[in-house]
Amino acid sequence: MTNQKHDFPWVTIEDLAPDARFSLRVGEAGRDRAGLTLGLSLPTGVSNVVRHGERAVVCLGPDEWLVTAPEGERDAIVEAFATIYDQTPHSLVEISDRELTYRITGPAAFTLMTIGCPRDLSRLTPGRAVRTVFDGATVILWRDAEDAFRLDVWRSFAPHVRDLLDTGRAELAAGL
């Protein structure tokens, strides 16, 4: 789903419509049960992503996962986790509105990411995601494909990040 689209042959930046998003925190004992509740096996190892249908879960820390799902599945996820709370204590916090998401695609997408992200992005292989910084703002950076990235940015930091992405795109267009 795309609200707004700016085209440039080498890189495209899009605002994505919101998903249902949750921060899931659960200890090792409850990990399997929590995964089962989502219909998948929670990934272990930071940056690993597991997908199930339209749901995706990325491991952000030893007891921390980011869950994304279509908006229509939001209530079902909340209810399912409520029913397991007593046996499997955890924290499921909805953060659908906390971040905005940009998608950056095209042959120059990788280069555009290097203007703001200090990580060695060649090590972020397609299909994985990490919490990192982009121009000083905390972001979740997803690498969906070789030349396709997504940035989840806290809502109030998003315009700043977007501004640099636009500047970078113009810079790439200038060819220098």
């Binding site: 921060s23 955890h90 659908s96 109030s156 500047t167």
Partner: protein
């Protein structure tokens, strides 16, 4: 086209001429020329005046180490740059160049009077001359000295250019693309390493660009070079030109400055001028080469006197001969080759003056073959010529005596005092240097980083040696990176090896005290200055440097440091390493501020966080104030209102009917888990166990030291779920502090923390009509006072949106705070405005919020507290659970100094008639007539006009304030002392009657 261009020589593109101006005169050069090479092609050596003595100066070098030929350049309005190095700046069409430090013009400069009075301007001149009277220093001497000092004029317009930055990760970064760097990059790339090779010049090749006649692996140098560069490209090596490694930081982080557009005739739209690369390299090869040293003798700074290697570069790389009749003076073999190249190109070599007694045989033969007069065991003792050298005085040195001096006519004097390995970047890493007695040079010793140093940078000389060493460094780097590779020797025919000796200032038959023998050209420091500094007590090179300013110019002593050290060590009577070498610091060459700032300028200087309701505030004329990174609506002035009027109106409207406030910036943290209540008990001073579900409480957070860190209202939504709010500025800090305790002190607790600050938009409604505005929009919650009393929280729907609804008050009025998912914040605001229209609902900003809370004596953490205020000091003892076993800061609250009398405590302050607004921050004294310095009792923390009270009021932190109620104190302000009475801080509705609705 120009007299000094040599046909068939150089790498400039003769098919493309480029016009530029120098001091208003139009010149023509070729594409590929620098300003210096193009001017030299026209016989122009005079390019500037020196810093202190205003002596005429021309280029002495041919690269970025140039100390003399610094010029102002302009690319149009706002694009003026002072101190551009004419030897490095490439020509571009329409380039405007002006000389510096001259008036009225370059050839006749009034400031040149300084040169005649040079005996007055010795080292330490400022300190010795301008001592009395002391009071003159600040207002007379220093301003005059500052006005006279400096080179070039600073730019006056805002820089209109863009600057960029990128991060780069690479297996191997090779700094310097001369023979050693190219060999290293090739060896590593062939072994399979991923390599980045960079060089500050417009094209790669380094010294090979100035030495086309050597034969490498059977091919002429330039042909070999082209082949290697092509192979590098084939192997996928990232090659960067016009890129300077400016600094070498921890863990192989190297900063590169890439110049992108200064050489272009037409700059593409949106193109950045320069780009900062922050490179993280697994291995680094430093192949920075060596810098040629001048010789130190009287008159060694005249236009036409330059480094022999520079003359060779101008000839071979740019096709420009620097003169028709040259004298070479050298202490190193390398200058012979320069002499031979020049002689072969038609410059008459009047003499080679070698300071050594026995020149190398083959070189002497070559000189003889060309008919060059070789004067071994000679020195030069002076030069003549005002704007260009006309002659040089040469003399024999034997047994320490200088005899038989005679003048030799010339139009250029080419000097070589040997070569200094370039170790600036290595020095940035805090790698240690070792003095090599044979070479009389500092060489790299211990390295703190994963780096290799290759070629002339570690004292090697000759192409076969440096190429092979580069190959070895590349192999070593590749092996360290896990590749397999074998070293190989790179064979060179017609090599130009060489050795030399290092001198202090050259011996002279003149008066040493009158010699103008320059060591540091850019700062006009002479050998005499350095000796004077030592005589006056400076022993360490660091002191000599600061006293004389030797090496303190923007070139950081690239040419002067070693000569300065040799002279100082001779004067001190100790070996050079005992006198020391000064530390090099980044950047390697002067770098624009723009490159360091990168994208962070103008609107992108820093993040400006805005709430979902910000757009409404902006379109309704709000004035904004920054609060941490946020911009918040400050007040909403109506036509003709100033801030005071707007705030008074907003306060009255809220107290009389209803006000609406965007509180979205408040920090919010979800605390969830079976141990949530235990965690809350340990973090906050208040007891939480008995707080019912659906109830809220004011929470106070201390540091381990017992001082107030943060506060906020906390609601209990379920047995195991708390909705914590923090101050706007404290949000990130509080979450970090909580996580810190949770992870390091109490990892056994089953509780998790999640920031929801930006998940929710928060709107506060306050005033007697608040319920009437809100109630029609609420579904799923009985809003009556009985069902939903003060300090309640509920999950319900407001205006159709899922909401967390609090009944709380930061104003003393009936109040609600409605949290809805952020995307609905603006829609909720508009729904409330609509519902409140019949009650004249009034949007208010942070200023009104501050006034209304102050009227109730509620504190703002960070305004009424300063990190040394305890709950007791701030009248908040009621918020501290007396029966709790522990909480963060509890033990500190019993420390002797935290219970001692005389602590600064928060009180109210009322001036007599209420017409005076005390200044926030104003000091408070007990008696304004006491002798100075007066005893300060405390200071005003908050001060406002209260529409409800009809007067000004203030809060203050005062020593022992709680015991001083009713006492009079004095507040000195610019307009005089104001008496004020100490009161409680419950200014308005002290009984809280207005909440009971």
């Amino acid at each position: 086209m120009s007299t000094y261009r040599v046909s068939g020589k150089g790498r400039v593109n003769r098919g493309e001429t480029v016009r530029f101006t120098f001091d208003g005169t139009s010149y023509e050069g070729y594409r590929g020329d620098t300003i210096a090479s193009a001017l030299l092609a026209h016989g122009v050596h005079l390019m500037g005046r020196s810093f202190k003595y205003h002596r005429p100066r021309g280029p002495v070098a041919a690269g970025t180490e140039e100390p003399n030929a610094l010029v102002g350049t302009s690319r149009g309005k706002g694009r003026f740059e002072p101190n551009t190095r004419a030897t490095a700046q490439e020509l571009r069409r329409g380039l405007t160049v002006e000389s510096q430090n001259k008036w009225p013009n370059l050839k006749f400069d009034v400031g040149g009077i300084n040169d005649r009075m040079y005996m007055l301007f010795s080292a330490g001149f400022y300190y010795k001359t301008f001592m009395w009277p002391r009071s003159f220093w600040d207002r007379v001497y220093e301003p005059i000295i500052r006005a006279a000092a400096g080179l070039g004029r600073p730019p006056e317009d805002l820089d209109p250019d863009r600057y960029a930055s990128r991060y780069l990760h690479t297996d191997l970064l090779v700094v310097g693309a001369g023979p050693a760097g190219i060999a290293a990059a090739l060896a590593a790339a062939r072994a399979g390493a991923e390599v980045t090779l960079m060089d500050e010049h417009a094209e790669m090749g380094g010294s090979l660009l100035s030495d086309p006649d050597v034969t490498i692996e059977g091919a002429p140098a330039w042909e070999w070079l082209a082949t290697q560069l092509a192979e590098l490209d084939r192997l996928g090596v990232r090659r960067m030109t016009r890129t300077t490694a400016i600094g070498y930081y921890h863990q192989n982080m190297v900063g590169l400055c890439e110049k992108l557009t200064d050489h272009l005739d037409d700059v593409p739209a949106d193109a950045p001028r320069e780009r900062m690369w922050r490179v993280r390299a697994n291995r680094v090869v430093l192949a920075q080469g060596a810098l040629e040293k001048p010789l130190v003798f009287d008159g060694n700074d005249r236009p036409g006197v330059m480094l022999a290697g520079a003359a060779q570069t101008y000839l071979n790389r740019y096709g420009v001969k620097v003169g028709d009749r040259a004298v070479i003076v050298t202490s190193h073999d390398s200058a012979y080759y320069a002499a031979f190249d020049l002689a072969d190109a038609g410059t008459r070599i009047a003499a080679i003056v070698d300071t050594r007694d026995t020149p190398r045989d083959d070189l002497a033969q070559e000189a003889k073959r060309r008919g060059i007069d070789l004067l071994a065991g000679h020195t030069v003792t002076g030069t003549s010529g005002r704007l260009r050298v006309k002659s040089v005085r040469v003399a024999r040195v034997s047994g320490g005596k200088v005899t038989d001096g005679r003048a030799v006519a010339c139009d250029c004097l080419l000097m070589c005092g040997g070569w200094t390995p370039s170790l600036h970047l290595f020095s940035h890493t805090k790698g240690t240097l070792k003095f090599d007695d044979a070479l009389q040079a500092f060489l790299p010793d211990y390295s703190a980083e994963d780096c290799h140093i290759a070629g002339a940078g570690r004292g090697l000389w000759g192409y076969e040696a440096t190429l092979s060493d580069g190959n070895a460094a590349g192999v070593a780097a590749a092996v360290a990176l896990g590749h397999e590779a074998q070293e190989s020797r790179i064979e060179v025919q017609g090599d130009r090896p060489g050795t030399g000796v290092t001198h202090k200032e050259l011996p002279t038959d003149g008066q040493p005290g009158r010699a103008r023998a320059f060591v540091d050209f850019q700062n006009d420091v002479t050998a005499k200055d350095i000796r004077l500094a030592v005589r006056e007590g400076m022993r360490s090179i660091e002191h000599v440097k600061r006293y004389t300013t030797n090496g303190m110019a923007t070139d950081q002593g690239k040419m002067s440091n070693i000569n300065g050290l040799m002279i100082a060590s001779d004067a001190v009577g100790k070996a050079p390493p005992q006198v020391g070498l000064t530390t090099f610091r980044p950047p390697y060459t002067p770098t624009t501020f723009g490159t360091f700032a990168g994208y962070h300028r103008g609107g992108h200087f820093e993040v400006t966080r805005k709430t979902p309701i910000d757009a409404w505030a902006e379109s309704h004329g709000a004035a904004f104030e920054p609060v941490s990174l946020w911009r918040r609506a400050w007040y909403f002035p109506k036509a003709g209102e100033d801030m005071d009027a707007a705030v008074a109106r907003e306060c009255a409207a809220t107290r009389n009917s209803v006000g609406i406030f965007d509180a979205s910036t408040l920090g919010k943290i979800e605390v969830q888990g079976p141990d949530a209540v235990e965690f809350m008990n340990r973090m906050y001073t208040n007891p939480w166990t008995k707080l019912g579900i659906g109830r809220a409480r004011y929470g106070l957070l201390l540091g381990e030291d017992g001082f107030i860190r943060d506060d906020g209202v906390i609601g209990r939504l379920a047995q195991d779920l708390f909705h914590v709010t923090t101050t706007t500025g404290g949000a990130a800090r509080v979450l970090t502090m909580m996580e810190d305790y949770l992870q390091t002190e109490w990892p056994d607790l089953d509780v998790w923390l999640t920031s929801t600050t930006e998940q929710w938009a928060t709107i506060a409604l306050n005033g007697p009509n608040a319920r009437r505005v809100l109630e029609p929009l609420v579904e799923g919650q009985d809003m009556s006072a009985e069902a939903f009393p003060h300090m309640s929280v509920a999950e319900c729907r407001v205006a159709g949106f899922p909401a967390r609804l609090f009944r709380i008050s930061f104003t003393g009025e009936l109040g609600f705070e409605i949290n809805v998912p952020a995307r609905h914040g603006l829609a909720l605001w508009e729904a409330l405005m609509k519902s409140g229209a019949q009650y004249d609902i009034c949007p208010y900003g942070t200023e009104t919020m501050h006034v209304l809370r102050a009227e109730k004596g509620f504190i703002i953490v960070g305004q009424d507290t300063d990190g040394t205020v305890t709950p007791g000091d701030a009248n908040l003892s009621w918020a501290v659970g007396k029966k709790k076993p522990d909480f963060v800061g509890m033990r500190s609250l019993a420390r002797p100094d935290l219970v001692a009398p005389g602590r600064k405590q928060l009180v109210g302050l009322m001036t007599g008639d209420g017409k005076v607004k005390l200044e926030e921050g104003a000091q408070i004294v007990a008696d304004p007539n006491q002798p100075k310095p007066m005893k300060m009792l405390g200071h005003v923390t908050s001060s406002y006009y209260s529409a409800a009270l009809g007067r000004h009021f203030a809060m203050a932190l005062i020593e022992g304030g709680h015991e001083m109620e009713g006492r009079e104190v004095y507040v000195p302000m610019p307009d005089g002392n104001h008496a004020a009475k100490i009161t409680t801080t419950a200014f308005y509705d002290p009984e809280g009657e207005r909440l009971k609705v």
